[in-house]
């Protein structure tokens, strides 16, 4: 049988068949072994480029139970991040402030519906179920205290939170991304620093 040459797709179809799947697999491929000490320094290009461009958390900005604006608090009012997230200075965990802390300023009766929500939580003595934005896998340890004390700006990882109405993830939080920074600053790249 003669191979049906006419069955070959035109250029557009080649694009759909080959280029799109290739691009998809390149972006969706999340190598578990990317980065690391064994490649003598350089993180894989896709770590730095493709994955940081998105597709793995970038733009993750869940709607929160209270429309808390970091732009207003950290931006307009220039509150220090550590004022509310005080544990970041003394603990591996950055810690979301207790409702009590919000009430420190928001005791007054107000027409603002969002503030009324806080007051309702406080009245019921219930915690606010914030939606987590930045998630690290369970096998990874990250110590906020060490980074804060080393003078790493919160914004280096969390982005310009002071400009965000709703917090969104701007870093991939992939290992290659961690390693890049550790390399630039010539700090340990030992696996055991984060994985145990």
């Amino acid at each position: 049988m003669r191979f049906p040459l006419q069955a070959l797709p035109p250029f557009r179809i080649i694009l759909l068949f080959i280029v799109v799947p290739a691009a998809l697999s390149a972006t969706l491929y999340q190598p578990d072994v990317s980065g690391g000490v064994w490649r003598e320094g350089k993180a894989a290009w896709w770590d730095v480029k493709l994955l940081d461009w998105g597709l793995t958390g970038w733009g993750h900005a869940p709607r929160q139970p209270i429309a808390f604006s970091h732009k207003l608090h950290a931006g307009d009012y220039s509150l220090d991040c550590l004022y509310c997230h005080s544990a970041a200075r003394v603990s591996p965990s950055a810690h979301v402030p207790p409702v009590q802390m919000c009430m420190g300023c928001h005791k007054k009766k107000t027409e603002n519906l969002e503030i009324q929500k806080i007051q309702a939580y406080w009245k019921n003595q219930e915690p606010i179920p914030w939606i987590r934005v930045h998630t690290l896998p369970a096998f990874t340890r990250f110590n906020h205290k060490r980074h804060v004390r080393a003078g790493v700006e919160c914004q280096s990882c969390h982005g310009a939170v002071q400009k965000m109405q709703r917090v969104e993830q701007v870093s991939s939080l992939k290992m290659g991304w961690c390693i890049t920074c550790h390399e630039e600053n010539q700090v340990s790249r030992d696996c055991l620093i984060c994985h145990y």
Binding site: P4, P9, L55, Q100, P129, I131, F139, T140
Partner: protein
């Protein structure tokens, strides 16, 4: 084209659609991140910083020893228990049972709220208000019947304040029927002290100071009195460091028919005829009196003693005890020449029907050698188990119950239906009590018979105080909020008292048990004449775990009553040609059985047999050969009082005329981990108490063995009992004696060849040193490792397949028994223990580790600080590394680990929970290393060199 598409039943458009769908599917799954919430505090407690551990000092309640504990909590839940370094009882150490107390707290089989037994016999959950009303109604009923004076309260040892509150509560009702019963209760030790020195308190033994220690069956490294404290003291007395300071380490001789863990650590083990320890002590005492006793003994007393000891010539004693005349003479000689010496006795396994007489003999031996006041100290009545009544008091109560005279019975922290033989009739008598209230937190054999269960907090959730030794006032505090809807026993009592009537509650005016406890500490505060305020004193005591003061010795005189004591051979029930003495020995893991519901303890290998989860019958191989028994045969063990079944385990450290079985297993309820494991040796024992002290006799019967025809080989974790020439656990002579031999051997310089480039370390090189001479093989470190590193418990079947997950294990090897201590002339021909060696085995973090180069994905590697790292998220589970590990310390996750709720609350948040299919191993607790480095960095310094 049409043809092609039709042939395949798929046209181009459909194909493209499918492609679109298959590409979209992963996109969709990628986009929907699981929603995770962060729940902050409403009001953050002052002492809690999320992510940082908080420690609370409290007291261990797993046995009456009263060791101090520091409990590590994270975000309000207890995750790890450590010994309290400033506590005088245990000085920072803690045994496996103490470590496992967390699994009591988080036990999935805990009673979660009050239970009432309905007419069908099932337990129905009810509310606390309902439960209290029910109890109040019962109290009214009993009062109307005019039987309030026979309301009874049976408990194990309780925190002292709880105990005194119970006493007051009963007194307010007009009853004094309070019985405290501990299965390992030391009644005989009290009675012996009473008869010898008119001191009914339990003495303190200064093992650390002793140069020569003879233990007549006391398993002081396992369960006897205060095992952690005494193990610490023994380590001091027996250590190489002490050997250097004092030219020679103290010598320790264990006299017992079955080689216990304590015996395995002795320099010499003497397999005495069961129950005849008294005669050896008397024989030694006689020789000492002949040679000239301690200077403190008056001439008249010496004559009296000589008369008392006259019959116990070495020859006669040798005949009675089956220990040679030479050995007896040598022991007596050493007992006086190695001063100060010390003799102890009173272990559970040796508690025969003549136990009191045996302990009097031990006291006499100490007395003639002048040890009283030097290594044996009597104090004021405050001492361990000071609440303990005797076993006979419980028997008397059982009789009353049997006669139907007890209208209302309370049970707390006790399980007599398990720890007493069936012939004591406790379970039957319970049925005759019209209303039984249990405060137990677990549905055990006794609580099953209760009409109402009012679950108490576990010790880690409770307030209380414990006075375990003279001058030690330990304080219990809750380390976290109660896990379930339980209520403190004291609070329940006070709340019920307030509801009964005004008259009752008048004498119990405290609002809560906490207030009552503080009131009793006010007294102590007043007595001590503190300069600070009470609040400061209270806070400091809480912080330190209690207060301690120096206890002064009470000087004692030998009582004349001792000269009337008749020493006779103990009687054993049962006889016959093949009758073997039955030794029920206390388990270092389960104590009297209360530890059996903790999976860590079930999976911790028994120190001597290395068996897990089960119970077994130890038998000497020669005896077994005589009876035609093969190892692993399931035997029916029959005494005049009952029958149990257990598999035979061949054990060289046992007399040929005896068999032995551990106490603590054989639960018929008590939760999923305890139930149906092994057999309960108590079922074979006699219920009659020992005459002199009223204690329970654990060494009282003989048994007959018959094969059932079934086989049930024991699951052990040791591949072999011998080292088979591999030199894993090596020993060397005491350095002090032959320093020259070592320098000669090791001074020869030789080149080091290595295929690998030399390793370089920048700042740190981590290592762990273990003093092998000090290791007693108890296994506390193994349980601590399980707790710290989230190691899963896999169960008996998986262990049988070699799939246990312990990162750290204690290897036990028996050496050829012909090798004996060369300093001992061995002409006696008596039984000798196989030499036992313990080798703690964990990842050695080898320099050029063989596991590293075989890993295809670089999951294991040597880190720049000398740790052999294992990166779980990188591991693909080839298991090449485990194959290549010469120490066999790598463990593979075959199945998904299971922590039935709420056991999962104990998991250490600083350690990853490993998935199935990955390898794991000892990390040298890298999370703690990181924590230490973190602290050091905060202070801008390095972790100090050890």
């Amino acid at each position: 084209m049409k043809e092609f598409a039709m042939e395949n039943g798929l046209d181009r458009r459909d194909f493209l659609k499918l492609l679109g769908v298959s590409a979209a599917a992963p996109m969709a799954s990628c986009a929907s991140k699981p929603v995770e919430t962060i729940i902050p505090y409403v009001i953050q407690p002052e002492e809690i910083t999320p992510g940082v551990a908080t420690y609370y000092a409290t007291v261990c309640q797993e046995c009456p020893a009263g060791c101090g504990m520091l409990v590590r909590t994270r975000e309000g839940r207890a995750v790890k228990v450590e010994g309290n370094p400033s506590h005088p009882v245990n000085r920072g150490a803690l045994c496996a049972r103490g470590q496992a107390s967390l699994q009591g707290l988080y036990n999935p089989d805990r009673i979660r709220q009050p239970l009432q037994r309905n007419e069908a016999g099932d337990f129905v959950p009810i509310s606390w208000a309902e439960a209290e009303t029910l109890l109040v109604k019962q109290l009214h009923r009993v009062r109307e019947e005019g039987k309030a004076d026979t309301i009874s309260f049976v408990s194990g040892q309780l925190p002292d304040s709880v105990y005194s509150l119970v006493t007051k509560w009963l007194a307010a009702l007009g009853s004094h029927h309070q019985v405290t019963y501990e299965p390992f209760g030391y009644e005989a030790l009290r009675k012996a002290g009473q008869l010898c020195f008119s001191q009914s308190s339990i003495p303190t033994y200064d093992i650390a100071k002793a140069r020569f220690l003879v233990s007549f069956g006391a398993d002081f490294l396992e369960t006897w009195l205060s095992p952690v404290g005494y193990a610490k003291a023994f380590g001091q007395m027996h250590s190489a460091a002490n050997a250097q300071a004092a030219k020679q380490a103290g010598r320790f001789v264990q006299v017992e028919p079955r080689l216990s863990l304590t015996g395995a650590n002795a320099d010499e083990w003497l397999a005495i005829k069961p129950g005849r320890e008294a005669f050896l002590a008397l024989g030694m005492a006689r020789l000492i009196v002949e040679d000239g006793p301690a200077a403190s003994i008056s001439v008249q007393e010496k004559e009296q003693l000589a008369t008392l000891l006259k019959p116990y010539t070495p020859e006669h004693v040798a005949e009675l005890t089956e220990i040679s005349v030479e050995t007896i003479r040598r022991l007596a000689r050493e007992f006086t020449s190695q001063s100060p010496s010390l003799a102890i006795g009173g272990g559970v396994a040796a508690s025969s029907r003549e136990e009191t007489a045996t302990l009097i003999a031990v006291h006499l031996l100490n007395y003639v050698a002048g040890n009283i006041g030097r290594t044996v100290h009597f104090h004021s009545p405050s001492s361990p188990t000071s609440q303990t009544n005797s076993y006979s008091a419980l028997l008397a109560l059982i009789e009353e119950m049997e006669r139907g005279e007890v209208p209302l019975l309370f049970l707390a922290n006790t399980n007599p239906a398990f720890s007493l033989p069936p012939s004591a009739g406790f379970a039957d008598a319970l049925e005759k009590v019209s209303f039984v209230v249990s405060f137990s937190s677990f549905l055990d054999e006794t609580t099953e018979h209760a009409h109402l269960v009012l679950p108490d907090h576990t010790p880690l959730e409770s307030w209380g105080d414990v006075r375990p030794a003279a001058g030690v006032y330990g304080l219990l505090q809750p380390v976290m909020q109660p896990v379930f809807e339980t209520q403190a026993l004291g609070d329940t009592l006070l709340s019920v008292a307030a509801q009964v009537d005004g008259q009752f509650s008048e004498s119990l005016s405290w609002k809560s048990f906490f207030e009552y406890l503080q009131a009793s500490w006010q007294e102590l505060y007043g007595k001590r004449g503190e300069t600070t305020t009470f609040e400061t004193f209270w806070q400091q005591s809480l912080q330190n775990g209690g207060v301690w003061e120096n206890a002064e010795d009470t000087s004692v005189q030998l009582s004349s009553a001792v000269f009337d004591i008749v020493f006779s051979k103990p009687q054993f029930d049962g006889s016959g040609e093949d009758a073997l003495t039955f030794i029920a020995y206390p388990s270092s893991r389960y104590f009297d059985g209360r530890g059996a519901n903790k999976p860590w303890l079930q999976e911790l290998p028994d120190p001597m047999t290395q068996a897990v989860w089960d119970s077994w019958l130890e038998i000497h191989p020669e005896t077994a050969a005589r009876l035609g028994i093969a190892e692993g045969d399931r035997l029916s063990v029959t005494s005049p009082h009952g029958t149990v079944e257990a598999a035979a385990y061949f054990y060289d450290g046992l007399r040929r005329d005896s068999v032995a079985m551990p106490i603590g297993q054989g639960h018929t309820s008590y939760g999923r981990y305890a139930q149906g494991q092994g057999a309960n040796p108590v079922n074979l024992l006699a219920a009659q108490p020992e005459k002199a002290s009223g204690s329970f006799s654990w060494l009282s019967t003989t048994v007959q063995l018959t094969r059932t025809g079934k086989r049930a080989p024991l699951v052990t974790t040791d591949g072999s009992r011998q080292q088979l020439g591999r030199g894993i656990a090596q020993v060397t002579d005491e350095h002090t004696e032959h320093p020259e031999s070592h320098t000669e051997e090791h001074s020869v310089e030789h080149a080091v060849y290595d295929m690998y480039p030399a390793l370089k370390y920048d700042t740190y090189r981590w290592g762990m040193s273990i003093d092998l001479a000090a290791c007693i093989g108890c296994g506390a470190c193994v349980t601590a490792c399980y707790a710290e590193n989230n190691i899963p418990v896999v169960g008996k079947d998986a262990v049988a397949q070699g799939r246990e997950m312990s990162w750290l294990r204690i290897e036990r090897y028996f050496e050829d028994s012909s090798v004996v201590d060369p300093s001992v002339e061995d002409s006696s021909g008596e039984e000798r223990a196989p030499e036992t060696r313990f080798a703690p085995m964990l990842c050695q973090h080898c320099g050029n580790a063989p596991c590293e180069p075989v890993c295809p994905v670089y999951a294991t590697y040597h880190n720049p600080e000398g740790l052999n790292a294992q990166i779980y998220n990188r591991c693909v589970g080839t298991r090449y590394c485990a194959n290549n590990c010469p120490y066999k310390v790598r463990r593979f996750n075959w199945v998904e680990a299971d922590w039935p709720q709420p056991l999962h609350l104990q998991l250490n948040p600083d350690v990853t929970i490993r998935e199935p299919g990955v390898m794991e191993k000892c990390t040298f607790c890298v999370q703690r290393i990181q924590e230490g480095k973190d602290h050091a960095k905060d202070e801008d310094r390095l972790v100090p060199r050890w």
